[in-house]
C-alpha cells in the first residue's frame, strides 16, 4: 500500500479525494503509458488519472487495467464523514 499526501493530486476535486480517503472509492497505482493511477468509483465506473490527479481517460475498459498498489492518504482529513453499509 502506498501512502501519499492528498495534496499531491492537485487536479483532483476535494469531493473525490474525500471518498478515496474514506475507502469508498479505490485508488491504485498502475503501469500505464499515460496514467499513474486508476480510480474506481463503482463496479461500473473507473477513471485513469495522471500523476497530478487529472482525469486522462474515463473510457470503458479502464477498470481492466492491471493495478500495482492500493493508495491511501497520509495527511489527515478536513472533516468527519459518515456512510451507510448497503449498496
Amino acid at each position: 500500500m502506498k501512502a501519499i499526501d492528498s495534496s499531491d493530486l492537485v487536479r483532483l476535486a476535494a469531493e473525490v479525494k474525500s471518498l478515496i480517503r474514506d475507502g469508498v472509492y479505490s485508488l491504485y497505482t498502475v503501469q500505464h503509458p499515460s496514467a499513474a493511477f486508476l480510480l474506481v468509483t463503482s463496479q461500473d465506473d473507473a477513471y485513469l488519472l495522471a500523476s497530478d490527479g487529472e482525469v486522462v481517460d474515463g473510457a470503458s475498459g479502464a477498470s481492466e487495467v492491471q493495478v500495482e498498489q492500493a493508495v491511501c492518504f497520509a495527511d489527515p482529513p478536513a472533516r468527519d464523514s459518515l456512510h451507510v453499509n448497503w449498496i
Binding site: V24, Q69, A70, L82, N85
Partner: protein, 285 residues
Amino acid sequence: MHQINDGNTLWVFACCSQEPRHLYDIVFAVDVLRQRGVLDEHILCFVDHRRQAVHLQPYGIDNVYHVSQLVDVMSHVKPHSYVVVTVTGHGQVMGLGGEAWPLVRPAELVAAIRSVPGITLGVVMLTQCFGGIFHLLDAASIPPLVLLGATNLNPSLSISIQLRQPLLQTNGAGGLSGWAANVFMADFFEWLRSPMDIDGDGNATLLDAYRAAGVRSNERLRKIKAGYFMQARTLASALEQASRESKPEIVRQAIEKQLQDTLEILHTHQEPWILHANLARQLQF
C-alpha cells in the same frame, strides 16, 4: 465460564463489498487480534472484493478465501473450541452477497459455524446493514451460538476515523491511517484491545463488549449527526452548482454520493441487538 485465549479460538471475517473501507475494517481488527497474541493461523477471511490482495497482503493477511467458499472451508479447518465470526461489508435482505445472488444465507452461515471441528460455542457479530435478518435464528442447539448485531433491520453506519499512528505494513512502511470504519465493529475491537467489565459482575465478557460497542458507537453517531443537517444543505447547493457549471461527471458523482449518504444517515437509527445473552455473559475475554 468459557475463556477465549490466544490459541483456542478461530477468528473469521466475512465481507461482501467492492469498497476498500470494508477490507480496512478487517485490517484494523486483525491488528488488534495480533496485539492480543492471536497467531495468523487462527484467522480466516472470506471476501468478494476483486482486488482484495492489494489491500490485505501489505498487512500480511494472506489466509483469504472467496465468500462463496465459506461453507466448504469452515468444515475443514483445524479444531477450535470457539469460533468468532465478524461480518462486515454490505448487507442484503437475503444474506451475504447481492440481493439477487445471495452467496451465504443466514441458516447456511450458522450451519457452517457449527461444522467447525471441535467447536463448543460460536459467536456471530453482524455489523453489516440489515444484520437483523440473522436475528432470532436457532441459537440454542448444540453447539450453542451467540449472535449480536450492530443494528436490526436498518442500514448500519460507518464513520470516518483517524488513527493516532498509521498501521504498519509488513515491509515496515506506514500505511492505513484513516478510513470510514464500521463504527460498531471498530468499537467492538477497541474494547477487545483492552477488555473492560461494564456491568460490574467482575468479568470482562462478550456481554460487556456488546454494551460498550453499542453505547460508544451510538454516542459517536449522535455527536457527528449534529452537523449533518447543514452539511446536507451545503452538498445540495454544491450539486446544483456543479450541474449549473457543467463540472465533470466524476465531480458530480462524488457530490451526489456524499449527499445521498448524508440524507440517509440523518434518517437512520442504529440499534444493536443480542441473541442468547445468558451465554454471552459466560464468555470471557
